[in-house]
């Protein structure tokens, strides 16, 4: 029988810097804060960290999308490593975690420090206000096909996919709105969330239309902040101070065309086969999941994941979230319990892992889900990229 390497790993510590719409510190300083907190939380010392990973690695392009890479962190903390990797060509943001699982299985390291640093709030105050296009240069890479068409932001690309989803599913604005409304309610109970004032359906409908069907509150909030987690070999994890949060199963597949224009299923994106892979590596079922931290770069990602994880049927998310009670903290499946990227800040799927562990360790304070949740589904990314993890408290 196949032994899946992720089952021999666990998250053992988490850390998060201040999160804001304009940092008081440098991006590296934020990263160091998050990393030191995660190392201490795991009950480890710097000397015991023997691996480091990030996604997508340092991008010194002024966008703030990934202002800090492995090298800067390793040197700042003077880590002595058996393995390191930072890079963007992976199944979305969790690529760093999947790489770490492989490195641990290969015997290259035992305790991997994984971090993700965003500095987009500060970047947007000083630089060209979007991530995709730069004036005065020819656009290379996968987005070259979009370059001449005023595709100034990821919002436009994603709007292409989501408009088809709306067309096929028949979801209404009032139904979509339950995602941001629920998350803002949760953010109100999260002291670190960037936006904490509740929003109503009227607020959602009155907010500016960005690109049909996306409105302002469908979009995540650029922020400055860093998250770090420690992924340890399971036997090591069991000797540390926190109950290990085991990585029960991962989805990292790429079964579709890897292209932002030619991806096979426009309205479901790359998620269905990724979710299928994750479920194929565990005996657990969707009904066993207590909470879900679903990618929410845009609200529609969360809708897509509800369906693709099998929490509801294809195009059934509109009924699943109707009225918002099922996905609320007190509901059958609490979703994005800390406010998510839509309200807590765009920590790009690592805020979600941090929140998953916070909940599984019972540290949620006012927003703690009752009944001691044990199983959390997490997911990342859109377009042709997707990754998923099922986390289980040991």
């Amino acid at each position: 029988m196949t032994r899946y390497a992720e089952k021999d790993t666990a998250i053992t510590g988490i850390g998060m810097s201040e999160v804001s719409r304009g940092a008081t510190k440098s991006a590296l300083a934020l990263t160091v804060d998050a990393c030191l907190e995660a190392i201490a939380d795991a009950g480890l010392t710097r000397a015991e960290i023997d691996g480091i990973a990030t996604w997508p690695g340092e991008r010194a392009d002024g966008s703030g999308f990934s202002a800090v890479g492995c090298a800067a962190v390793q040197d700042a903390l003077r880590l002595k490593l058996g393995w390191y990797a930072g890079g963007g060509e992976a199944p979305g943001q969790y690529g760093a975690v999947f790489n770490a699982i492989g490195a641990i299985a290969a015997g290259l390291c035992r305790n991997v420090l994984i971090f993700r640093t965003m500095y987009e709030a500060t970047a947007r105050k000083t630089a060209f206000a979007n991530a995709l296009l730069k004036e005065g240069q020819r656009q290379a890479g996968p987005f070259a096909w979009y370059a001449p068409y005023y595709t100034y932001a990821a919002a436009l690309q994603q709007a292409l996919f989501f408009n088809l989803y709306v067309h096929k599913s028949g979801i209404t604005l009032e139904q979509v709105a339950q995602i941001p409304i629920n998350q803002r309610r949760n953010a109100g109970l999260n002291p670190k969330a960037v936006y904490r004032t509740p929003i109503t359906l009227a607020d959602y409908l009155a907010a500016p239309l960005i690109a049909t069907p996306l409105r302002l509150f469908d979009c995540d909030v650029p922020c400055d902040g860093a998250v770090a987690i420690i992924v340890s070999r399971l036997d090591v994890a069991r000797g540390l101070r926190n109950p290990p949060v085991r990585i029960e199963a991962i989805g990292s597949s790429m079964q579709y065309r890897n292209s932002w224009t030619q991806l096979d299923a426009l309205d479901t994106q790359a998620q269905p086969k990724v979710a299928e892979m994750m479920w194929s590596r565990t005996d657990l079922k969707p009904a066993d999941v207590d909470i879900a931290q679903l990618y929410d770069g845009f609200t529609f990602h969360t809708l897509n994941w509800l369906e693709n994880f099998g929490f509801c049927e294809r195009y059934g998310a509109k009924d699943f979230i109707e009225g918002g009670t099922r996905i609320a903290l007190e509901g059958d499946l609490p979703v994005n319990t800390g406010g998510g990227a839509l309200s807590a800040g765009r920590l790009h799927a690592y805020g979600a892992v941090h929140e998953a562990c916070t909940q599984l360790w019972g540290r949620g304070g006012e927003r703690q889900v009752k009944g001691g949740p044990q199983v959390c589904a997490t997911s990342t990314a859109g377009g042709p990229l997707a990754g998923a993890m099922l986390l289980v408290r040991d």
């Binding site: 730069k134 979009y146 005023y150 709007a159 690109a211």
Partner: protein
């Protein structure tokens, strides 16, 4: 009152494979790579046919007609002077639906664009390139 100039389209970086796509418009042609052995259209262009593993793949003129696979009407003025609203779309080529081309839909009110709408290519010069754009097929 000073009105900012509309922003220029941002040109793509072009290589030997993609150059025909971005310059065919000079002669009024939309050029898409096609396998000479099995007739499969290969886009984005690469001189290898994933259908038959043939290497005889070269650009050929196509109809320039297609259907709107999906679209969005952009309302946000991302940069000063950007005229809004405008339509960004993915267009499925008439000859082969899994050749999906990006473009703006022009020559119509954005509110008139629909899923599956029949469109045809036209070209706008941008420096040394000719950018494919799409407009509704003339109704006779």
């Amino acid at each position: 009152m000073h009105t900012p100039k509309p922003p220029a389209r941002i040109p793509p970086a072009v290589d030997m494979d993609s150059q025909p796509y971005w310059t065919g418009g000079k002669d009024g042609q939309l050029l898409i790579h096609r396998c000479a052995d099995c007739a499969y259209f290969v886009h984005p262009p690469v001189p290898f046919c994933p259908a038959c593993e043939g290497r005889n793949v070269a650009p050929v003129p196509v109809s320039g007609r297609g259907r709107v696979a999906t679209f969005t009407i952009n309302h946000k003025q991302w940069v000063p002077g950007l005229p809004v609203p405008y339509v960004l779309a993915l267009v499925e080529l008439e000859e082969q639906a899994d050749v999906r081309l990006v473009g703006n839909i022009t020559h119509c009110d954005p509110a008139e664009v629909t899923f599956g709408m029949a469109v045809e290519v036209w070209f706008e010069q941008l420096d040394d390139l000719w950018v494919p754009l799409f407009r509704p097929v003339e109704r006779l």
